[in-house]
Amino acid sequence: MNWFIDAQIMEQKTGYLSDKSNLWLELLKKFSIKDWKNNLCNRLFGSKKVRGTWWRKLLLLWIIGWFLGSLWIFWFMNSQAVEKRREMLASMCDERARMLQDQFNVSMNHLQALAILISTFHHAKDPSAIDQITFARYAERTAFERPLTSGVAYAVKVLRSEREQFEKQQGWKIKRMDSTEQPPAREEDADLENRDEYAPVIFAQDTYRHVISFDMLTGKEDRENILRARESGKGVLTAPFRLLKSRRLGVILTYAVYKSELTSKATPAERIQAAIGYLGGIFDVEALVDKLLHQLACKHSMMVNVYDKTNPDEPIIMYGSNMTNVGLYHISTLNFGDPIRKHEMHCRFKQKSPLPWLAITTSIGTLVIALLVGYIFHATVSRIAKVEDDYRQMMELKGRAETADVAKSQFLATVSHEIRTPMNGVLGMLQMLMDTDLDITQEDYVRTAQASGKALVSLINEVLDQAKIESGKLELEAVPFDLRAVLDDILSLFYGKAQEKGLELAVYVSDQVPDVLVGDHGRIRQIITNLIGNSIKFTERGHIYLTVHIFEEVLNSLDKEVEVHSTDTLCGFPVANRRRSWESFKNFKLELPASDPSLLSTSSNHINLIISVEDTGVGIPLEAQSRVFTPFMQVGPSISRIHGGTGIGLSISKCLVGLMKGEIGFVSQPQIGSTFTFTVVLTRACTNSNEYKSSEFHGMIALVVDHRPARAKVTKYHLQRLGVNAILEIDPNQVLSRLTSGTSTINMVLVEKETWSKDSSIWPFIISKLKGNQLDIPKILLLANPTSSVKNNASSSMEYISTIITKPLRASMLQVSLRRAMGCGDGEHSRNGRLPQLSLRGLLHEKQILVVDDNIVNLRVAFGALKKYGAEVTCAESGKKAIGMLKPPHKFDACFMDIQMPEMDGFEATKRIREMEADINKQIECREVPVETFENVLHWHVPILAMTADVIQATHEECLRCGMDGYVSKPFEGEQLYREVTRFFKQPQKRIDNEVKC
């Protein structure tokens, strides 16, 4: 930027300057731009220190350079002006000198003509044709011809011998020149007398009449002049002198008049001889030059001096005031025809030359611009430096903040580390204190203390969780899990709390949700636990309802469910419209236009779940709704006093949902309830297993009687998980017709407690009717809320009911209850379950089985289970022991091996056993040992079944790789055990074959 401006300014500058300087400037420009580029590079890549010194130097150089530059500009322009002035002066001076010379020459020529006139008319004629009067008149009338002469006079050559005669003839005596000034002394008179010749003036112009009769040879200059003039035959000038009368400076030009015509080659002697008179012209130089200059314009602007420079050391000033030799002047030489005399004209301007304003302004302007540019540069560089400084400072601060953040984490870690010992002690001691004999008050105190301790611990955990999520250190797992089982677990967690408050707790999972999903179930559990925990906290009556749908399902149902009946809820209380809680979801809007959402779900492996928690609690005040997800923000300060908690749960949930590429939202109506909804993106699992689908109730039909369809839906969902087909019936009056007229037999009737008690009188009638019809009476089960169940147990109609199922419904619990209800009376239905047991008994009867497990409880259970099937069970507590016992020859038919054992795990033990067996088999094959030693068994291979709690594919493969024959899940499950055991017990076994042979 800077250099760009700079270049521009330079271009402007070049406009001011002449062509000559352009080149130089361009060079400079190029150089400076190149410099700039270099500097730019330096600035970008050089170290800061180098940069700091460089730009200072450059700035200094720049200023100095431009200061010199402006000085140069000033000098250059000024000298140009001076030159111009000098030229002007020279031309003016020369012009004047030429004019003066011309006029002088004209005058001289005319004098020469006058001299010839005199020689012709005075000397050649006798008597003379000219007398004084004629001469004076003629001279006067021809004065315009001699512009520079103020007067002319003629002196005649008079020899000494002719003097007296001449004096007589003229009538006056020859006088000495200077006699007019002082009375002539006698001696001088005598001097006059003694001369050889005289040159008395005989004719003179009227103005100079006073010079008549003066002897010219007596005047010093005149004499010299005359002598030189007659020698040379040309006009001769005197040095300037004061004229006799006017006392002004003058010059006398003298011409010699010769008797006869002389050749140009005549010798000076001849000339002297021939001379007869002398014509003198008086030049009043001062007046004349004045007059001349007057004729020219601009006389006043110039000052002219005329010097006689015959003697160069002592110039005689002829015209002009004496002036100091300062300033501009010009010298022109004047040639007045006399080669001995040298004249010069000096000219100078009267005014001093004006100040060179243009040069001054230009140079100053340039300097100012350069300084401005320098300042801009300086400002920019210092700005850059400042910004850099700021940046560095910011970086430093950022670094410090980051360090502080690390320090914070370390502090948290350290503090929690330090807190743990006392907390451990406190909680442990409290636990121990609880076990001692305490009265009620003491126990209450201890309970409170323990609750506080636990709250503290959970607070720290939550804060750490939040910190971890914020720092992005939290990584999500991706493991297959059964969402329904997870939800059942959560429900059972809140069972106690819901029971205390008398809330109805229910879960519904859409059947479109796959059985096994891949994701982080722990985190999903955490979110749901958070939401349900909140709901329970703020709900005093009504229900909490957890629903799981597939996103597309919700989209499809959107149009149908426009009108939601406010009473059609789980417990009859109105709820907030949950659809509004996800209205703001981006995904929702994004996918809304998709015409066929089912395509979306099938095409990709991802599955978008939408999970809602609906409650009928106090709701969130409108003004607090905006900050629900802000950490540590609760609705009001009183909330934390009443309900406890830190207010961080929802914030963590939001973060977690965000990590799972989902969104969370809510809708809340004060005094009606809140619904929190979130979405998560999970992956479908390839395996598809439902632990309950294969239960003994598969294919059964159940009639659910409930006047609330929403609640009946939940019941139906749970029954369907067990494989039971459920038929919903709202009206109890229709039950009888349903039971009797249905094409398929209904195995059980599940009646909602509320519906039962609403018109309890109808039930005995129905049952008696059924009994009367001699039908296979279906079992009647009552669905009850935990609170209401106890008191009403004694109601009259209870005798007809097989079991009361306490809500919340969970698959496992429902299964147990149903089994209890169904199992006791009806053997037919548990046939599926019995079959493997009986077959197992056949298979395992009197088989020798070794069970290896380090856990004595597990050992005992396995022992009990296998013994039940008639097997002879031996136990071993470790892998090593098992190896010892399984060293051939041994009596065992099979071995059940736990995988995870200390010292030696199941895999290792199996490997060792297989190695051992292979060794012995080899020996037998090679006949190294007699077969009899090994009970005539040719090939030893004891079936080893792994016992494992986790039924993951990888474990299975690992089992097979280690030489195991199969695996059974722990704890034993009849069907699986049967399946696995049949695999190798049905195979023809060599041992048995051998026995048969023997």
């Binding site: 743990r420 069972y495 409880v857 200390p902």
Partner: protein, 157 residues
């Protein structure tokens, strides 16, 4: 109290334990295992379980009390407890153990000393809590069974 009443009481107790989720269907299977040939099976198992669990819990408490916690040992113990509780069908104890193990694993994974300590501690407390809750019920159950057996033997005499 009559034999029937005692039986009913026992059934009620077991039922309530099922309902609360303390026990799962594994216990039911165990109940099926108990028959005339092994009358004291459940009682024996429960005693075994309780003894084993208490030993493990004591070990765990001791481990977590140390300045440097060996989380691998803790994990091994919790695994044992998880195994035995799932064998017995003690669902809540099992779930608590699963949670506990998760924290242990995270601890091993992250290597953050102290941060997960609390979770482990809390998890241990949860396990203990669940265990003591269960043991209370088991104690009652055993007592009832003993009384039933006593009755039965009396009647036989």
């Amino acid at each position: 109290m009559s034999l029937m009443a005692l039986r009913e009481q026992l059934n009620g107790l077991v039922n309530s334990m099922f309902l609360e989720g303390l026990l799962d269907d594994q216990f039911e299977q165990l109940q099926m295992l108990q028959d005339e040939s092994s009358p004291g099976f459940i009682a024996e198992l429960i005693t075994l379980f309780c003894g084993d669990s208490e030993r493990i819990l004591a070990e765990l408490t001791k481990l977590l009390d140390q300045a440097v916690v060996d989380y691998q040992k803790v994990d091994a113990f919790v695994h044992q407890l998880k195994g035995s509780s799932s064998s017995v069908g003690a669902q809540h104890v099992k779930l608590a153990c699963v949670q506990f193990r998760q924290f242990c694993e995270e601890h091993n994974k992250e290597g953050l000393k102290g941060i997960y300590f609390f979770r482990c501690l809390r998890a241990l407390n949860v396990v203990k809590h669940e265990y003591y809750l269960l043991r209370g019920k088991f104690d009652t159950m055993l007592q009832l069974e003993q009384r039933i057996q006593a009755y039965e033997s009396k009647q036989q005499i």
